[in-house]
Structure formats: structure tokens, C-alpha cells
């Protein structure tokens, strides 16, 4: 049986990163409200972009890493990879919740509707529901090896959806704006807006690291306790 690392130092480290990430979010709010200019056509609603797009970035990183950890788990059978995938899926869901709520709040004043069933929005909602199913599956299966194997398969299938979401604005007719950063040409934003966006993406990455480390530590501690119960 693979020995598990001690949970306490990982939890402490996760807490530190989380606090730094939350402080970073306060800086992003200040930058967005005080430093970044108001966009002439969209008005103040455009500033929703600084919390919405980086949340999408964080969620897609989280879900890609679930897929990668799942592939590695099926290959190496290391329970730490399964615990990491579980942690990353939960954090991805939290970021997706930000993405799926702030998107419609921006859509109402700009598009005139809260929601439209276009490719980008629909695929993103499917990904959210898929990972909700992933965590539900994990909660339903009690046997650890079986749970890890079933959820790894689902995590890999969800990974296949991620490139379609990124490319959906090119592949399908969609209302959603084109990518501003993750595209072959240079970023199409004025410098102040670009700096705020990049800061926000950095902060969401830091928050991802904090949340996922903390959640991984919680999973480790739970797994260690279950092993103790099994051994007793």
C-alpha cells in the first residue's frame, strides 16, 4: 500500500496560499475599480470581465489537471493522484460557479439576455454538470480503488471536452466574445486593461494553488483516518 504524506504541513501551506490569494483578489478589485478605465461602449459592466475570464481560466486549468491526474492514476495506481484529482475537481467547480454566474450578469446589459444556448455557454454548463456528477460519483462509491478507477475514467472523458470549449468560438456561430489572450496573435486590449486581466489571472492561479493544496490536505487526512479504521 502506498504510504501517504503527512496532512498537517500540507494543510498549513494551503491555508497560507489561500490567504495570499484572497488578499490578491482584494488587489484585483482595487485595480479593476480604481486603475482600469471604463470601456466606452459597454460601460461599467465591462469590468465584470476581470473576474469572469480569469475564473474561466482557473476552472479550465483545474479540469485539465483532473484529466491529467486521472490518466496518471490509471497508469501508476498512486492514491495521491486520485486525491489530487478530487481536490482539483472541487476547486474547478467553485471557479465554474463564479464563471457561470458572472457571465449571465454581464450578458444581461450587453446582450440583452441572461442566457443563450450557444455553443460556448452550453458546453461550459455541460462541463460544470459533468464535474458535479464526478463528485457525486465519488460520494456514492465507498470502496477506494473502485472509486478512484471509475472517477478517473470520468475525469479523462471530461478532459476531452475542454479543447472544444476553448475552440467553440471558432468552430460554431456564437455570441460569446473571441479569446483576448489565448490566441495566436497579440492580446487585443489596452495596456491598463491587460495588466489588470493578467494580475487577476495570476491571482486566480494562486487561489487555485491555495484551494487545491488545502483540499488535497483534507483528502489526505481523511484517507489516513480511513486506513487507521481499516487496520484496527
Amino acid at each position: 500500500m502506498t504510504p501517504l504524506p503527512a496532512a498537517a504541513p500540507i494543510i498549513r501551506y494551503g491555508r497560507l496560499l489561500t490567504v495570499l490569494g484572497l488578499l490578491g483578489m482584494a488587489v484585483v478589485y482595487l485595480l479593476a475599480l480604481r486603475y482600469t478605465p471604463v470601456e466606452a461602449r459597454q460601460g461599467m459592466a465591462q469590468k465584470i470581465f476581470y473576474v469572469h475570464a480569469p475564473a474561466a481560466w482557473g476552472a479550465l486549468i483545474a479540469f485539465v489537471l483532473v484529466g491529467v491526474a486521472s490518466i496518471l492514476y490509471l497508469w501508476l495506481h498512486d492514491p495521491r493522484l486520485d486525491l489530487f484529482a478530487e481536490a482539483s475537481a472541487e476547486v474547478g467547480l467553485a471557479f465554474s460557479a463564479v464563471m457561470l454566474t458572472t457571465g449571465p450578469i454581464w450578458g444581461k446589459p450587453i446582450w440583452g439576455t441572461w442566457w443563450t444556448w450557444d455553443a460556448r455557454l452550453t458546453l461550459t454548463l455541460f462541463l460544470f454538470l459533468l464535474f458535479l456528477g464526478y463528485l457525486t460519483l465519488r460520494a456514492a462509491v465507498r470502496e477506494p480503488v473502485e472509486r478512484a478507477r471509475f472517477s478517473a475514467v470520468l475525469g479523462i472523458m471530461a478532459l476531452v471536452l475542454v479543447p472544444f470549449i476553448h475552440l467553440s468560438v471558432y468552430l460554431f456561430r456564437t455570441l460569446h466574445p473571441q479569446p483576448i489572450l489565448l490566441k495566436p496573435s497579440r492580446p487585443s486590449l489596452p495596456p491598463q486593461m491587460l495588466r489588470t486581466l493578467l494580475t487577476s489571472m495570476g491571482v486566480y492561479t494562486l487561489l487555485y494553488l491555495g484551494f487545491v493544496t488545502l483540499r488535497y490536505g483534507i483528502g489526505l487526512r481523511r484517507a489516513a483516518r480511513l486506513r487507521e479504521v481499516d487496520d484496527a
Binding site: M44, A94, A97, K108, I218
Partner: protein, 34 residues
């Protein structure tokens, strides 16, 4: 020069929702890690 759209309330709502979700999740992790 065109008039700026008056939609600041949507931005305030989005920022509050974001803070509530992220802080709520952080608190949930904190409680579970105790």
C-alpha cells in the same frame, strides 16, 4: 461622444457574487481542515 451606459449595478452584483462564492468556499475548506 456617445453617452456611457448606466449599468454599474451589474458590475457591483458580479463582484459581490464572486466574493461570496470564493470566500464561502475558502471558509468551507477552513472548517473542514480544522
Amino acid at each position: 461622444m456617445p453617452e456611457l451606459p448606466q449599468n454599474g449595478a451589474y458590475m457591483v452584483a458580479a463582484y459581490i457574487v464572486t466574493a461570496v462564492i470564493l470566500m464561502g468556499y475558502a471558509v468551507s475548506l477552513w472548517m473542514r481542515s480544522r
